[in-house]
């Protein structure tokens, strides 16, 4: 009685807390401090180095996060007391980094159209569209080029047109608007050029022989490879009419290796002010549509195939519930997912429980040996087992040929290629993978049931079946119900076995527009949408699905746990 009073006494509790603080937060040994400081120093060193790198790359968001994490870690370990914090800090940080942030990111992606055609930001799309709009005129002569520097230190192209091998024509020019001396023009006063140098120069090998036309000097190979020159050469566009690269005449641009130049022209022009592209041939204006994530004309024509990622509100969720093409397959998949998860839990639990009872009988010799063997499927990596099962389920595999002894090729059971057998195959394989876990926890729970209970039941004349049904099973369920629920949640999302064993297959009727496989559970179907469906990846839709699955499993688990609490009260 006095003990209970002391426990409920708030003052006493505080005193105990104080004692604890004295115990854990007191003066630690010098040894401990030194180890702690050494370890913390390593972490801090790494952290400071990472912070410097982030400053270098101007990643301010990551920088602040990184510094905050570092400060939290230092605070947690340098302060006196707060022992739980010292244990929890790394775990919580990793939880945030690898779980919580991922959930939030998925939730965000669910509201975007991120996918195959909407892969990057709008800026990326503009870059791509600009690159696309520059059309390389493959009919124009391809001229070997020497990149030269003029007296204003501006880069220019010195090119030679070898269409007529015997009588090459020489051109020179740079970007006049950027300050280059020469606008693009043919060199007519050939006496000013060491022509023989250029003629021999169909490759870049001997450009060290500078050309002396109006004081230009050739870039040495070393200069060409300097980073700033590489980007300058790659971006250099020399207007052919000497005025504007946007004109119909176009411009000269180097090939990627900068060994030659060729006439290039824009088939659409970008207007940075309005963020629009205008098609040169007919004047159609394509403006950025922030709802579809494409450059589109008034009539809805797209400039390029490449879009960008935009936020599209609830559209992905509307698609899941509204798209008739999805609705049919989804209903089937959901039904099978529940069947699969429930079937897996039920079958593994029944087998595990039965084996646990069997091997709980003290009359069996070598029980420990048997029990150890039982656990082997659990100890084996699941993906390895799945592959072995896949091999065994093959038409010519161990199960058909050796176990079932089918030798007539016409009567082989199509384990992995027909929907019915494939579902049984998945459940069988999952039974193999899952029963040891159930066996383990059932054995543990059984052993926790006091022997007196069984003894008194026997004395009262209860049959073994009555003992099991009325005493042991209810007691077991109290402990095991939460584990069964989490096992259901796990199997509901058991991607590994489906992916490895059948890949979601067999694929169904080819006349369906959305192709779902016969053993596809929700999560494997989501994977197909995310990475390999229709037009390609649709991460937005897949994320929306994931969020729904998360909500479904979350609420299912919450309700179930509530109900198990009720079970607990019964006893």
């Amino acid at each position: 009685m006095s003990e209970i009073r002391e426990l409920t006494d708030v003052k006493a509790q505080k005193r105990r807390a104080k004692d604890a603080k004295a115990l854990y937060g007191g003066t630690p040994s010098l040894h401990g401090i030194l180890i702690k400081i050494a370890l913390l120093a390593i972490v801090d060193a790494a952290g400071v180095f990472a912070a410097m790198q982030l400053v270098g790359f101007q990643q301010w968001g990551y920088f602040y996060t990184e510094v905050a994490v570092l400060l939290v870690l230092n605070f947690a370990y340098l302060r006196r007391g707060g022992l739980p914090g010292k244990y929890l800090a790394p775990g919580v940080l990793f939880l945030i980094a690898f779980q919580v942030s991922v959930v939030f990111y998925s939730a965000y992606i669910a509201f975007t159209n991120y996918g195959a055609l909407h892969n990057g930001a709008m800026q990326d799309s503009i870059v791509q569209a600009k690159l696309d709009s520059a059309v390389n005129d493959t009919n124009a002569p391809y001229m070997p080029v020497i990149v030269v520097r003029d007296v204003n230190s501006k880069l220019e192209f010195l090119a030679s047109d070898f269409t007529n091998e015997a009588k090459p024509i020489y051109y020179i020019g740079g970007d006049v608007q950027a300050g280059a001396v020469n606008a693009w023009h043919q060199i007519t006063d050939l006496q000013n050029v060491k022509t023989e140098t250029i003629v021999s120069n169909t490759t870049l090998n001997n450009i060290d022989q500078a050309v002396g036309y109006k004081g230009v000097t050739a870039l040495t190979p070393e200069e060409v490879t300097m980073p700033e020159n590489q980007s300058a050469i790659s971006s250099l566009k020399v207007a052919i009419d000497g005025k504007s690269i946007d004109s119909k005449a176009g411009f000269m641009a180097a090939d990627p290796s900068a060994q030659g130049v060729q006439r290039t022209y824009f088939d659409s022009l970008y207007n940075a002010q309005n963020n629009t592209f205008t098609r040169v041939s007919d004047g159609t204006v394509f403006s950025a549509n922030q709802t579809t994530g494409f450059f589109e004309s008034q009539s809805g024509e797209r400039l390029t195939q490449t879009g960008w990622r935009v936020e599209i509100g609830w559209a992905n969720f509307a698609k899941i519930f509204g798209d008739t093409r999805l609705r049919g397959p989804l209903a089937n998949i959901l039904a099978w997912t529940v069947m699969f998860a429930f079937g897996s839990v039920a079958s593994t639990f029944v087998l595990g429980l039965a084996l646990a009872f069997l091997f709980n009988d003290e009359r069996i010799r070598f029980r420990k040996v048997y029990r150890s063997i039982m656990i082997l499927p659990y100890a084996f990596p699941a993906f390895l087992s799945a592959y072995v099962w896949k091999g065994m389920f093959n038409d010519n595999g161990f199960i058909n040929r050796s176990i079932l002894q089918i030798h007539d090729n016409q009567h082989l059971i199509p384990w992995l290629t027909e929907i019915g057998p494939a579902r049984w195959a998945v459940l069988l394989c999952n039974l193999w993978l899952g029963f040891p876990y159930m066996f383990l926890i059932c054995t543990g729970a059984l052993q926790a049931i006091p022997a007196e209970l069984t003894e008194s039941a026997t004395i009262d004349g209860a049959s073994p079946w009555q003992q099991f049904r009325l005493i042991k099973l209810p007691l077991l369920l109290v402990t095991l119900a939460p584990l069964l629920i989490s096992s259901f949640a796990f199997n509901f999302n058991n991607f590994t076995i489906i992916y490895l064993l059948t890949g979601g297959g067999p694929a169904g009727d080819p006349s369906l527009q959305v192709q779902a496989g016969g053993t596809d559970i929700l999560i494997s179907f989501v994977y197909k949408i995310a990475f390999s469906s229709g037009v390609g990846a649709d991460y937005g839709l897949a994320s929306a699905f994931s969020i729904l699955i998360f909500l479904f499993i979350g609420s299912f688990s919450m309700i179930s746990f509530r109900r198990t609490r009720f079970l607990e009260d019964l006893n």
């Binding site: 410097m52 340098l78 067999p506």
Partner: protein, 415 residues
């Protein structure tokens, strides 16, 4: 001894601030490393040579080997973040998806442009613009064993019906790439063609489609086309004369010269007798349905990341790309891996009779289309073909086939 907590904190703070101050303006090394993402086959074909080329030109070439099946998806995810490759390799029919994802840049082949046939280049074009550098070409042919077959058949239809022909295809998913030999012989075409390129209209339906469906439905059973034959099984059967013909490509040439374990008619596992290179016969496909066979050809090649043009390593990457397009690298790829060079200059120097025979068998081949929805087309057609062979459409093969093609066209039109 007691160490002051404050002292320790202060020390750490001092060190940290000092380090940050010492940093001042962070010096980031100029990056002249050119990163290639390639599959293991490409790495074997040109990996060593491209590194040597880089070393000679002061460029560090970093060849990263990736799984062929996941390379494209990985590049699409990585390039926008700036962590992707500068150059990636793959099959030409990836081009559409790569362009759609906005991760590759148009290229100018420069001096090498005239060394490629327009058919090969068309594989890398989207909207008339060239995006990739062709590396090597491959197409399927009728491969036979000269030990058992002196003259290749001119009647493929009967050969198939007699069970003389083997094709590797999945029971459920089919293999429309290999089956193009049969489908095009019925006058079908994956998409209708106009001006030497693919349109987006599926060309597999209609009256010819019905004929093809009827033939597929009749070509099933133990005798004709058998699904699910493994690589060793396919090799072994041809090596030992169990079947006479194999619909396959140049990638089988090496394997046919090695030993394989396979199951014989009695179901026992036996070891095959390796073929000599001189015993490998390569023939053109006779037509099953009466029309000219236009099997697919594939062109392996390289693309430049969209981040490269205008960047501080644009020229270095361009030089590597130029090397890959040129005859030196393409001949090296032939020498290392028996790949048929796409570059005509390199091709003219190839003497291997098998490589040449594959080239001759592929004169009518079309490069696979590379639309952004291409995967859907493959999977739908394959599913329908496999379904018919498995007898799923037996009640009405023509309808089963046409329904699938209609669904496919609907999906394409919606994209």
């Amino acid at each position: 001894m007691k160490i002051s907590k404050r002292g320790v904190s202060a020390a750490i703070a001092t060190v940290a601030t000092g380090a940050l101050l010492a940093l001042g303006t962070p010096a980031i090394a100029a990056n002249q490393t050119v990163t290639l993402w390639v599959d293991s086959g490409t790495a074997t074909a040109i990996g060593k040579e491209v590194k040597a080329f880089g070393a000679k030109n002061g460029i560090t070439v970093n060849v990263v080997t990736k799984d062929f099946g996941t390379l494209r998806a990985a590049a699409i995810t990585a390039i926008p973040t700036g962590n992707g490759p500068d150059i990636l390799s793959g099959a030409h029919d990836w081009t559409g998806k790569l362009v759609g994802a906005g991760v590759i840049a148009p290229v100018n082949l420069g001096a090498n442009a005239k060394s490629f046939s327009s058919s090969v280049l068309s594989g890398f074009q989207v909207g008339g613009k060239l995006y990739g550098v062709p590396g090597w070409t491959e197409n399927i042919a009728l491969v036979y064993n000269k030990k058992f077959t002196s003259t290749p058949t001119t009647n493929l239809k009967t050969a198939v019906a007699n069970g003389d022909v083997e094709v590797g295809f999945d029971k459920n998913n089919g293999d429309p790439y290999h089956f193009s030999v049969f489908s095009t012989s019925f006058g079908l075409s994956q998409y209708k063609r106009a001006n030497g390129t693919w349109t987006t209209t599926i060309g597999m339906g209609g009256a010819n489609g019905a004929k093809y469906a009827a033939w597929l439905a009749s070509a099933k059973g133990g005798k004709a086309l058998t699904s699910g034959l493994g690589w060793d099984q396919l090799n072994g059967q041809l090596q030992d004369g169990v079947v006479k013909y194999w619909v396959t490509g140049p990638w089988a040439v090496g394997a046919l010269q090695g030993e394989h374990s396979y199951k014989n008619a009695a179901g026992a596992t036996v070891k095959s007798t390796p073929m000599k290179a001189s015993d490998i016969g390569v023939a053109s496909f006779p037509s099953v349905g009466g029309s000219t066979v236009h099997q697919f050809s594939g062109v392996r090649g390289y693309w430049e990341s969209v981040k490269v043009p205008g960047s501080d390593k644009a020229v270095s990457v361009g030089k590597v790309l130029d090397f890959l397009a040129g005859p030196v690298a393409q001949l090296a790829s032939y020498n290392n891996s028996k790949n048929t060079p796409a570059n005509q200059v390199a091709l003219s120097k190839v003497a291997d009779p098998i490589v040449k025979a594959f080239g001759q068998a592929g004169v009518n081949a079309y490069p696979m289309a590379s639309f952004v929805f291409q995967d859907t087309t493959w999977s739908k057609i394959g599913l329908a073909e496999a379904g018919l062979i498995a007898g799923k459409g037996d009640s009405n093969p023509a309808k089963y086939w046409q329904d699938a093609m209609t669904a496919l066209q609907t999906v394409i039109d919606a994209s």
